[in-house]
């Protein structure tokens, strides 16, 4: 009998600390499957963010470093420029990549660093208790927008970082994906594989956004989160390849 599915070698066999219905576990696994399939585990270096996924190194069987909040792409620049033959990827949330690390993200992309960025957008600060993120939807209630995010109160529009990055000539690949169905998960994996393949082929800066559920701070069941992504979040953040 052929073995058609197994635990990825790049993923440790351990218990998850993530909440039920969280998207991080799925995305961690997809990255590990891609790394296994591309045969790059022994030359891949991961950069974990500050946020719920800081403990990614408890799951990944990969050389991994933490980065200060928002600084992952700067750390990636140092790692990649000194070891261009290695595969470097950052794993960042929306607060990390699109708020406190906006400058690092834009300038790393503008330099065209040949790295892979996995941008997990759940529209909320999960680690700190569900505060408004740069990507929080208009009207979405959070710990710091208790009446719903309101642009008329100066709370800003949901930041569309991919659309901002798309104007930079040295950015090679940008795609927005979502976790909302088995089919969408396969699509996330395809995009992640593309982003890593681009780096192997020295194509330049590649970023995959993954819209990911946070049942705990969206105050929804896991199943309702997926429906909400499919029907609501995509209105603000349309899926597909931007570049």
């Amino acid at each position: 009998m052929d073995k058609i599915y197994s635990h990825p070698k790049s993923l440790h066999d351990t218990t998850t600390h993530y909440c039920p219905g969280c998207g991080h576990g799925t995305i961690h696994k997809l990255i590990c499957q891609v790394i296994d399939e591309l045969g790059i585990r022994e030359k891949t270096i991961a950069i974990a963010p500050v946020g719920c996924a800081v403990l990614a190194y408890d799951y990944w069987n990969l050389d991994t470093t933490e980065a200060a909040h928002g600084r992952a792409t700067a750390v990636a620049t140092g790692l990649k420029r000194t070891q261009p033959e290695k595969i470097i990827f950052t794993y960042q949330g929306d607060g990390d990549l699109a708020a406190i690390g906006t400058a690092e993200t834009i300038h790393c992309a503008n330099r065209g660093e040949n790295i892979t960025v996995i941008f997990v957008n759940n529209g909320i600060y999960g680690m700190t208790g569900g505060q408004m993120a740069p990507t929080t939807l208009i009207g979405q209630k959070t710990a710091t927008t208790p009446r719903g995010r309101n642009v008329n109160l100066g709370e800003g529009e949901p930041l569309k970082l991919l659309e901002m990055l798309a104007v930079l000539p040295r950015v090679y690949y940008l795609e927005r994906t979502a976790i909302c169905s088995p089919r969408s998960v396969l699509n996330v994996k395809r995009a992640i594989k593309q982003a890593f393949s681009n780096q192997i082929e020295n194509k330049g800066f590649s970023l995959v956004e993954v819209i990911s559920p946070c049942p705990t701070y969206w105050n929804k069941s896991a199943a309702d989160c997926l429906k909400w992504i499919e029907h609501e979040v995509v209105k603000t953040y349309p899926l597909g390849r931007l570049k």
């Binding site: 022994e42 069987n61 470093t65 980065a67 600084r71 700067a74 140092g78 000194t82």
Partner: protein
Amino acid sequence: MKTKKILMTGNEAMAEAAIQAGCRFYAGYPITPQNEIPAYFANHMPEVGGVFIQAESEISAINMVFGASAAGKRAMTSSSSPGISLKQEGISYLAGCQLPGVIINVMRGGPGLGNISPSQADYFQATKGGGHGDYHMIVFAPSSVQEAFDLTVLAFDLADKYRMPAMILVDGFIGQMMEPLVVHSPQSTVHSKSRLLTKKWALTGAKNRKPNVIRSLFLAEGRLEEFNEELQNKYTRIKNKEVRFEADNIEDCDCLVVSYGIMARIVSGAIENLKKQKLNIGSLRPITLWPFPTDIIRKVAKNKKILVVEMSAGQMLEDCLLAVNGQAKVDFLGRTGGGISSEEEIIKKIKSLVGR
């Protein structure tokens, strides 16, 4: 040993020393009075296959250094006071992750934007941690272009040895002034692959070994306290082994003057002058500001006047007070914001202390 004598600014000398010490990664951001450092690297890093990046901010620069250091490479950044404030988060992470890295601070006047005149007002920030958490850097205070060169090489060695950030703390004078410099041939300095420490902890890909993880987050109960104890034990070893200072007539003098960097050069001129007037004055110049030469000062302090001279409102003064520990009266002479005590001012102050 092949050597050559050249004329260089302190800033250029530190950059050249870094290259000779095997530094192959520099990231920085423009700020006066240290701009000769990034310019030197922009010119010369490509010649040795190294990396120069002008970063979008001081914050990004120190984090690029973090990444290059995590890769096992000798890496550095430089800035001046306001920019060094921005780097504090990254320096704390280097300390917490036990990563080596060299940071040059060519100090200017503060607080805030201050001015671009030489200053020594970042002593507290450099020696007491600067960023968050219980940590230290090894802090070197050169007082000449030659010493700026030599201590930069040493900074890379000790940063690697102890896996921690090290800082070269100079004022704008040392950075900007030109002096003759004896440069050893590269073969005689540490730059050779075999002599660089093998960094088994570096992130190079988990090939034929378990993954290396660089982290400063320790959530399990008691684990962070254990880690901090390890750090403190390391700092104790450094305090025991790495204190460096220059002493002249410190045992039997009537007045001991403590000063560092460019200030110590001016003080030594004043002391020479006073010797001719038959005054018995000693000088102690800390070369490492952390670890501080506490023990030697404590040993010789009794029955003397102690004078601390700084280009600040009195920062090293506090470490001197702790070292003297009440055995003698400690006086202070300092100016701020670009003001520099002249030889005449120092002579006048010393004379007032010894009753002449």
